[in-house]
Structures are given as C-alpha cells and as structure tokens.
C-alpha cells in the first residue's frame, strides 16, 4: 500500500516540513485507503497556523504510524459515513473550530463550548444557556416507549455525565451518553499556560490515569527537546504505569462484585486497591503517582529497602488477588450467571466502533500499545497477545483480572534490586522549532495518546490530548442495546470510562 501519508515512529521527533501537505480531497482519499486496509484512527484534529486552519490525522496500521495534514475546508464530506471511528473526532473538530462534516450521522456537540474561531456555531447553540437544556436527544417513538434520564449528578461518588435511555419496558432500545460537564479547557491551557504548569496539567487530565497522561507528555516533550532518559527512569515509569493499572482494575473488579450484591470480594478488592495505591505513595509520596513522572525522567528512585518492601507487599497481594479472583469469577455460579451474556459487544461491532484497551480485548481485538508500540521497558517484556471473545461483562472482568496478575508479574520482574535514576531538572525543556511528535501508551483503559506541534519559534502550537475513553463511550451504548436497564450499573463499571479524560 502506497499513500502520501508519512510513516513515522512514536515518541520520535518529526520535522514538520516533512509531513505531507495534501489537498483535502487527496488527504481524505488516502486516509480512507489506509482505514479500509485495517488502519485505525489515533488522532484527527484541527489547529490554527498563520491564521489558517489546518487538519491533521495520525493513523495506525500494524506496528506503523502514518501522518499527513491539509488545509481545512469550510466544510467537508464526513468520513464517519465510511469509517465510524472518525465519528467523535469530526464532532470535536466541528465544536473546536467550527468546521462542518457534511452528512455526519449524528452531529451533536461534544463538550458544550463555543469554538475558538468566532465562527458561527455548527450546532446552533447559545452558550449563555445551560447544558443540557438545548440538546436534541435521539428519541424513540411509540405507545409503550419511555425515557429515563440519569445525571449529571449520579447516586454514587463518581464523575458527572448524562445518560438518556429509551426503553420498552425494562429493555433498553437506545442509550445516548451526553458528556461535557467536566470540560475544564485543558487543551487551551496546555497551549497558553506558563510551561512550568504543563506536567501538572498532564497529571490532572484524568487523576486515575495520572501516569498514563504524564508519560505521554514526557515522551512527546523528550522527543522534541532531544532528551534521553536513563534506564532507571524507564523501569520506574513502567512500574508506575502497571501499579496504576493494578489499582484501577482491582477497584473495578470489586465494584462489579458489589453491583451483583456479592459483598466479600467487593470489600476485599476495595481494600487491596488502596494497598496498590499505597505502593505509588511509597515510591513518590502520592497515591495516584502525581509528581513522579517529569519530562527527562522521574523524580524518585527506588532504593534497596524500598525494593524489598515492594516485593514483599506485592507477593502478599498477588496471593490474595488470585484467591479473590477465583472466588469472584470461577467459584461462584451466581456471579457468573449475572456476568455472562450481559451487555455483549461482538467483535464486528467492536471493530466498527474502534474500541481500544480492555474493552476491545474483551471483544476479540488484541491490540495493546505495550506490544505494538512499546515505550520505556515494554520492548523487553514480551507482552503476550491476549483477548477474550464473548464481549460480555464476564469477558471484560476476565481481561481485567488476567491483567492484574500479569501486571504484578511485570513489576516483580523489574524489581531486581535498587533502581537509580538521575535527578530531573525542575524546568520543562526547551522545544525544537517546527517539530511534531506523537506518543502512545497503554494506560489501564487503553490507548492514551498526545500530539505535540511546535511553531517556528519552538512554542507549543497545538497540544492534542486523547484519552482511550474518547474511542470507547459508544461501546457502552452498544453494550446496553437490548439489555435490561437494571444491568446498566454493571455494564458501566465493566467499562469504567473516564468523564474528565473525555471532557478535557
């Protein structure tokens, strides 16, 4: 396959002058050619340069990344019609820059804010009015149809979002998920704030994915600044990303157990999740790993005593996790009967929507950034290909459970003694002018990716953030089709997607 897209490597600097500048028609044609040959969308976004709006796409095929750009037209024929994974990206571009994708299947606002170009609003919104009063939900007509509205404030201690169910009796015909409540203007801040604030902003894009996002920023900046990190930093970063996965997967397994009223594993997992968070606290002083990763390396080393402490605690937790997972997923038939066949997303649907991470792996898509685009120590770790095929709550729980044990083993294999890393300079490094880098990491929800573009003076021209939830929220909607509405919490927990990572 030969296209005008430039093949690039992740976390490597690219001279922006080398990125093909195509006509829009050519850009669209070639992007479609790549996705029709099993290509996937990593990024599709707009940015402003020299008073012109431009589009850029980063696509991936087996172990390869492809990038190209073009001048943005006023409007363009939507690509979502031919390739659904462009769906949310096109809505985002329409909202951020006022460029309309003609014929888009469901052109609705994403985060409810005016575009940055003072262009006429694509959605006809009046932003002095509150969300969601003027949102036109998908609705089903019929005598026995009823709607259920949930949120933005939910019953539990969780983030805000609105769920609109169209049901016939107890059965959900359609679930529409409307987000935007968490929008804090992150991308805008990343482009305008004092550079000393950047690592802090990355860590707070989604607090449960602190390491995932901090790593993406660090790797993108290191690429463009031409910085090398030492091996110790690579090992500590890998440990931190796996600890983050452990804590979140363990917490979600407990929550799934709680949602089917099986309380022992719910409590045990709740406690053990805290213990995994405490291992991050042990390493860097913060339970979520805030303050650990910085461009250039890490801020904390692991000495001999801490190494032993981590090995002992992880060893103990591993045995307990194995037993609790056995209790939850194998030995208790009533749990299995609730998990199996609930909220199924088949492989065809998952491929169509472009699901990533554990949600994709549960539906038979083995893609794992750690194996395909390895960063830090992952190239040396032989991450095996792993997928379930039933696409139900059980498969999503099983994938998470398997990854818990895998992550513990990965960390234990890295804890061979004291891990030293050189002191990281406090200041954010100076960036090369007219450069581009894209970084990817497999955080616990799947592919996190950041794109960094600098201008001719080495300032940040565009900082694009993508959380895996951006790909996966429609997967939850799909899981709920023809599922009892009472199984929504169970399905929601099995995905546990990020609201703030999506809303930015």
């Amino acid at each position: 396959m030969k296209t005008g897209f430039l093949q690039i490597r992740h976390s490597r600097p690219v001279d922006r002058n080398r990125i093909p500048d195509l006509s829009f028609d050519e850009f669209r044609k070639q992007a479609m050619e790549i996705v029709k040959n099993k290509g996937k969308v990593v990024h599709f976004f707009a940015y402003e340069e020299n008073k012109a709006i431009r589009l850029m796409a980063v696509l991936r095929t087996d172990h390869l990344l492809h990038v190209a750009g073009c001048k943005a037209p006023e409007s363009y024929p939507s690509m979502s019609r031919e390739c659904e994974p462009f769906h949310m990206f096109e809505r985002e571009i329409a909202e951020q820059y006022g460029i309309r994708p003609e014929g888009h299947p469901w052109l609705r606002m994403v985060r409810y804010h005016p575009n940055c170009q003072d262009r006429p609003d694509v959605f006809g919104n009046d932003y002095t009015k509150d969300i969601p009063g003027n949102y036109d939900y998908y609705s089903v007509q019929g005598e026995e149809i009823h709607e259920v509205a949930v949120g933005p404030v939910h019953a539990g201690v969780i983030e805000p979002g609105h769920f609109r169910f169209n049901c016939i009796g107890e059965r959900v015909l359609n679930l529409e998920i409307q987000l935007g409540y968490q929008h804090r203007g992150v991308e805008n801040l990343l482009q305008t704030a004092d550079p000393k604030r950047l690592p802090i902003l990355a860590e707070n894009i989604a607090g449960d994915t602190t390491i995932g996002h901090a790593l993406c920023m660090a790797q993108a900046m290191e690429a463009i600044a031409g910085m090398e990190t030492d091996q110790g930093a690579g090992i500590i970063r890998t440990i931190a990303l796996e600890l983050e996965r452990l804590a979140n997967h363990t917490g979600d397994l407990g929550a799934l157990s709680g949602d089917v009223a099986f309380l022992p594993p719910a409590n045990y997992c709740g406690r053990m999740r805290g213990d995994f968070l405490n291992l991050s606290l042990l390493i860097c002083g913060n339970r979520f790993g805030k303050g650990l990763v910085r461009p250039g390396g890490v801020r904390f080393s692991i000495d001999g005593e801490m190494n032993k402490n981590l090995i002992n605690r992880l060893g103990e937790l591993k045995n307990q996790m194995i037993n609790v997972i056995d209790l939850l997923l194998i030995s208790t038939p009533s749990v299995r009967s609730r998990f199996e066949d609930c909220g199924k997303v088949g492989k065809t649907d998952a491929e169509y929507l472009g699901l990533v991470g554990p949600a994709g792996r549960a539906s038979g898509i083995p893609y794992d950034v750690r194996r395909v685009f390895p960063t830090e120590q992952y190239g040396k770790l032989n991450i095996p290909e792993h997928a379930e095929h039933t696409g139900d709550v059980y498969a999503r729980a099983k994938i998470r459970a398997d990854e818990v044990i895998q992550s513990i083993d990965i960390i234990l294999s890295l804890l061979t003694g004291p891990i030293a890393s050189k002191e990281v300079p406090a200041a954010v490094p100076a960036l090369q002018p007219s450069a581009f880098a894209v970084s990817l990491n497999e955080a616990w929800r799947g592919e996190v990716s950041h794109c960094l573009l600098t201008d001719a003076d080495g300032r940040i021209l565009r900082y694009k953030v993508k959380d895996p939830s951006f790909h996966n929220w429609n997967g939850l909607s799909m899981a709920l089709r023809n599922t009892g509405i009472s199984d929504f919490p169970l399905n929601n927990k099995s995905f546990n997607l990020s609201y703030c990572g999506f809303d930015l």
Partner: protein, 247 residues
C-alpha cells in the same frame, strides 16, 4: 462457601484504630508544609518562581495550601531549607484564610461551629458532587467506605440523594457546565446544611486556574464551612477533617 470462608480468613481484620491510635504514612508522603523563616530571601524567591501553582509568597514567607498541590518542587529546589513537607496529614481548616500558612494551623476542633457538632455529631449524611474533578479526590473519598477506614463506624455515610443529606462535599474546579447542577444540588439539600470543599481544585481552581471554563474557588458560589486541601487530600486527611469538625 468454603472459599468465601477461606478468603475471609486470609483477608483478616483491616480496620484502623484512628483517631485512638496514631497513623504514620510512608516517609515520602508530603503533608503539612513547614516554612523556614530563616531561609535566605533569594532562595524563597526562587521557590516562588518555580512553584507551578504560584502558591508561595516569598516576601511574607507563607504558602497557600489552597493552591498548593503538594508536588514538592519547592522542597527539592531549596533542599528543604525554605520549605519542607512533614508527614502531618491533619491539615484541614474551617476558614480559607487559615490555608495561607507558615506551617502552623489553628486547631480545627476549636474553630468548628459548635451547633454542627450538636446537630451532626452522631449522624452525618454526605452528598458528594463531583464538579469537574479529575477523579482522584472522588476516589480518595470513596475509599473511606472500604474496610481500612470504615467511615460508617463513626455514623458518617455517603448518600445517593441531596434530600437525605446534611452536607454536600464538592470536588473539582466547578466547570461552567457543572455550575447549575451543583447549585441545584445545594438547593435540594435541606437546611441547616454544611458545605465542604475537598481538594485544591474546589478551593482555588487548582491546576486549572486561569481557564475561563472553571470557577476559582467554591467559596465564590457557596458559603464553605470546611476546607480540605490536597491534590488529592489523603484519605486520612479527609477522615481527620470529618471527625475533628463534626465529632
């Protein structure tokens, strides 16, 4: 059934005995900052300039814990000579001005409102509102329900409806899109009610200050009774605040 019993035995009894017994967190935990007044002025200015949160006032030699995210940049830069972070997690206050500190805090118990203790001392129901929080504050509030902390043993619970609540616990920098939902939740809570701001974001806008999409301080919207600083506050900080303020 046997496996349930086996797991129960393996898990053991995990609930802590705080506040009867002291709890020590891991040494790298960064709690109450201590400001060394004898540090050279230029060192203080360097720390203030490097602080990503602009939380340090170099002239008065104080730090604003409402803005601070406890990242430890100042401690590293000054090698502990201007700022050092102690292991003390008992850092909540009832008045915002007390957050601007040289390392000493007034006793929370003495500054809490006496009628709150009478009203809510034996039973306190909390409604949490996440208003653009990054999910870290939310997670470390949620964890209070797990066996190690077991908040319910103190008669304190998180409830599903503001109608059942005595207090709202707000996290996040209150985005433009969450403001109305937050105010409606407050309205729906019966009086007398308590407002608690948890985390740097809710107290000052935190890392997101300067964005037109957020609110720089919950106290600009609602009367706040209790400020719990941190990014996020450690669960023990939350527990301490709830116990000292209401018990």
């Amino acid at each position: 059934m046997l496996k349930i019993l086996f797991n129960r035995l393996e898990q053991g009894y995990r609930t802590n005995n705080y506040p009867k017994e002291k709890i020590t967190l891991f040494p790298r935990y960064r709690g109450l900052p201590s400001i060394h007044q004898d540090a050279p002025d230029d060192l203080a200015r360097q720390c203030a300039a490097a602080c990503p949160q602009d939380a340090i006032d170099a002239d008065r030699k104080v730090i604003d814990m409402g803005r601070c995210i406890f990242c430890g940049t100042c401690e590293r830069l000054s090698k502990g000579k201007f700022v050092s972070f102690t292991g003390n997690f008992e850092i909540s206050v009832s008045e915002k001005k007390h957050l601007i500190t040289d390392g000493t805090l007034p006793s929370l118990a003495e500054h809490s409102k006496k009628h709150f203790k009478k009203l809510f001392g034996r039973s306190l129901q909390l409604r949490q509102v996440s208003a653009a929080g990054c999910n870290a504050c939310e997670a470390d509030l949620n964890v209070l329900a797990t066996p190690f902390f077991d908040l319910a043993r103190f008669g304190i619970n998180f409830v599903a409806s503001p109608r059942h609540a005595d207090a709202i616990v707000v996290t996040g920098p209150i985005s433009r899109n969450m403001k109305t939902a937050l105010l409606q939740t407050y309205e729906a809570t019966p009086s007398p009610k308590v407002v608690i701001a948890v985390g740097s974001c809710a107290i000052t806008g935190g890392p997101f200050r300067g964005s037109g999409e957020v609110t720089e301080g919950l106290d600009t919207l609602l009367p706040v009774d209790l400020f719990i600083p941190g990014c996020p506050p450690h669960p023990m900080t939350n527990l301490h605040a709830l116990l000292r303020f209401f018990k």
